[in-house]
């Protein structure tokens, strides 16, 4: 049976005296936009909520940092870093970023013709933000603008 993260984390935070985390719980179905053409012909964008950044960029802070980082799609693994409020889940990612940030994998899928092309930058933010309002008002519009500027036609979002 899959892990019950919400229940487990609620109990853990209560025990540790942390403020309760409120996950977004949708009450209405989402909007729907069909692919404009097959994946093999479109330009894909990537957003990772793993708190990835590139050496030389500012790391994330842990007080609801809602900011984005643009990560050039050809960034070598050796220049990728992570900072995230729940960094206990990033032990492996810090050794092999590919297990959370599929840059090399997506480049391979372009070579193989599965994906048409990739935006020149992928984007990362830090998940685990307490303020849903700030995600709605800051992070989501910033991601939309970033993808539009890159001509992204479909987006893969990879959670931490």
């Amino acid at each position: 049976m899959p892990m019950q993260y919400m229940e487990t984390i609620r109990a853990r935070y209560a025990r540790l005296g942390y403020a309760p985390y409120r996950w977004f719980e949708a009450s209405t179905p989402s909007a729907w936009k069909a692919l404009s053409r097959p994946l093999a012909r479109l330009r894909l964008g990537l957003l990772s909520t793993s708190g990835a950044y590139v050496r030389g960029q500012r790391a994330y802070h842990y007080r609801d940092d809602c900011s984005l980082r643009a990560i050039p799609v050809d960034t070598p693994d050796t220049a990728l870093r992570f900072s995230h409020i729940t960094e206990n889940y990033l032990v492996d990612a810090r050794k092999d970023p590919g297990c959370i940030l599929p840059l090399a994998t997506l480049r391979k899928l372009v070579t193989r013709g599965v994906i048409g092309s990739l935006a020149s930058d992928v984007f990362s933010c830090m998940g685990g933000i307490y303020s849903q309002r700030r995600v709605r008002e800051e992070t989501a519009p910033a991601v939309l603008d970033a993808f539009k500027a890159e001509g992204v036609e479909a987006a893969l979002l990879v959670a931490m």
Partner: protein, 124 residues
């Protein structure tokens, strides 16, 4: 993540969310979701296993074409090889860094701070 996916979709960009927390994905009801039953922190495949990373992401991307209604979710066939991970994950309390909650950047390496200063991304 679901909030961002829903916003993108509302504004004309089709999205697919790949994640390994089924309950959180279900709660957020993003337009399309692919669930991989791996320990958190490995949504894009097993570490140091290029073949598995390729398999996970390829299978997830297929959901772009397989899911046809909002809120659709597919479960990937990939299996984590160790059986004890769920237990380990539940007992892993010490590393959850919900503190300190201030605005100082938390670089992975102290040296990253120097690199950010040199690049003009941070002021000492």
């Amino acid at each position: 993540m679901s909030l961002v996916a829903r916003h993108l979709e509302e504004n004309g960009i089709p999205t697919l969310c790949l994640g390994s927390a089924l309950d959180i994905l279900r709660a957020g009801q993003p337009p399309r979701a692919a669930f991989v039953d791996y320990p958190l922190g490995h949504s894009a495949g097993r570490p140091f296993d290029e073949a598995d990373q390729l398999a996970v992401v390829t299978a997830a991307l297929r959901a772009f074409e397989d899911i046809t209604t909002p809120g659709g979710l597919v479960t990937l066939p990939n299996r984590w090889p160790e059986v004890s991970w769920a237990q380990d994950s539940e007992s892993n309390e010490s590393g959850d860094t919900r503190q300190p909650r201030d605005e100082s950047p938390q670089w992975q390496f102290p040296e990253d701070r120097e690199a950010a200063i040199a690049a003009g991304a941070w002021q000492a």
